[in-house]
Symmetry: C2
Subunit: 232 residues, 2 copies
């Protein structure tokens, strides 16, 4: 874990994160209140139940938001991508765990600092509202998926989503990406077991839609077929 001063000028998400709506002087004030922090894969930002957990904007890497049920099973509720905002603003304590899926860099703020900023900078409140609504849509999309769809459909939809978000800049013929999740994490996210994930992944590969390279690598050979499998 490392802490350093903020350097917004060369922040890769300065155009897309919530703080993009701030004026230069407002942003400077925020920068003075925040700190960058790095998390190694598996490291936790905060745990369910933590009081006044910090808030953060993700700069690079990926995080998961997860809950642990009474049997000790993890359920992944959301993934956080760069420029995403993490933190429960009005709750006195965190409802969920937030853990790094890959080595990550983020820009953290004390709860008080964020709350003051939301009061003082209306544009920030609006930006966070927008982001919160987007999170809500993403969570509902996941709910829709896990509600009725078959194991194969769920998995295909997740792969489809990953391939889109991975290849947003470059549009190769065969987009290649690495799964940021283990089989177990995929299962926890989609409501399936490790074994089912492994099996269905094999079946999707056999269908010709993808090819697996190594443990985490995925080549999308037939995007249209993958979309069809995902029910769209």
């Amino acid at each position: 874990m490392a802490h350093t001063q903020l350097a917004c000028e060369d922040c890769p998400v300065r155009e897309t994160a919530a703080c993009a709506v701030l004026t230069p002087q407002e942003r400077q004030a925020m920068a003075a209140a925040g700190r960058t922090r790095t998390l190694a894969r598996g490291e936790m930002l905060f745990a369910a139940g933590d009081k006044d957990a910090a808030c953060a904007t993700l700069i690079s890497g990926a995080l998961k938001v997860s809950a642990i049920d009474q049997n000790g099973n993890e359920q992944i509720l959301a993934l956080v991508h760069p420029a995403g905002f993490i933190g429960e603003l009005f709750a006195p304590f965190a409802h969920h765990d937030v853990v790094a899926l890959t080595d990550s860099r983020l820009c953290t703020f004390a709860r008080g600092a964020i709350e003051a900023a939301v009061e003082n900078y209306p544009a920030l409140a609006r930006a966070l509202l927008r982001r919160s609504q987007d999170d809500l849509l993403a969570t509902r999309a996941l709910l829709e998926l896990t509600g009725h769809a078959s194991a194969e459909t769920r998995l295909a939809a997740l792969l489809d989503e990953f391939s889109r978000s991975a290849s947003q800049s470059s549009c190769h013929a065969t987009p290649h990406f690495d799964l940021p999740l283990t089989r177990g994490e995929i299962g926890n996210m989609l409501g399936l077991t490790i074994e089912t994930v492994s099996r269905k992944l094999g079946e999707i590969e056999a269908s010709g839609a993808i090819r697996r390279t190594g443990k985490r690598g995925i080549d999308v050979l037939d995007p249209a077929l993958l979309s069809a499998l995902s029910g769209r």
Copy 2:
């Protein structure tokens, strides 16, 4: 469908809805821009795909937010209770259907009016942010439930939730309430079929936790047992 002028003075949710944070003059301006509307059970407020769908605060009754998948199956994503806010602020078109579960009254605003108010009244933006975060937590709670739990657990959790929200004021020994949802709607919400809902409801009744009276009536005979079945 009926439209009338707003009368905030005797609005039952004036203390709890988002507009409670407005100053009297701000509220008056909002009241001038809004209209009350009644929806009969089954009537739709707006449909997925509608452009610039109106926003609204629910005054009384109950709504469902639902999506229809490519096979025509409905999936209920959220319930809206009085004082709840409905509307997707930043999306150009609605992502989901919103339908009245019971006869309902609400207070509607054109998209432009809400967007202007969010710009002009920072307190409103913060109030909606808070509400959006609450919606997010509720949706994640449902996701958690449908992810791993058995049919019986899901159903017990839903009944438990209904019994809590129904008896918040009066604390009877045997709280009685009416299900606002049909069997099919319960199934669509929990990712189960009508038949499974019916069967498991019978089993929960046989366990002694509840008694069914008529089609929709529920008596909670043993709240502790019901909580235990719901996994908490």
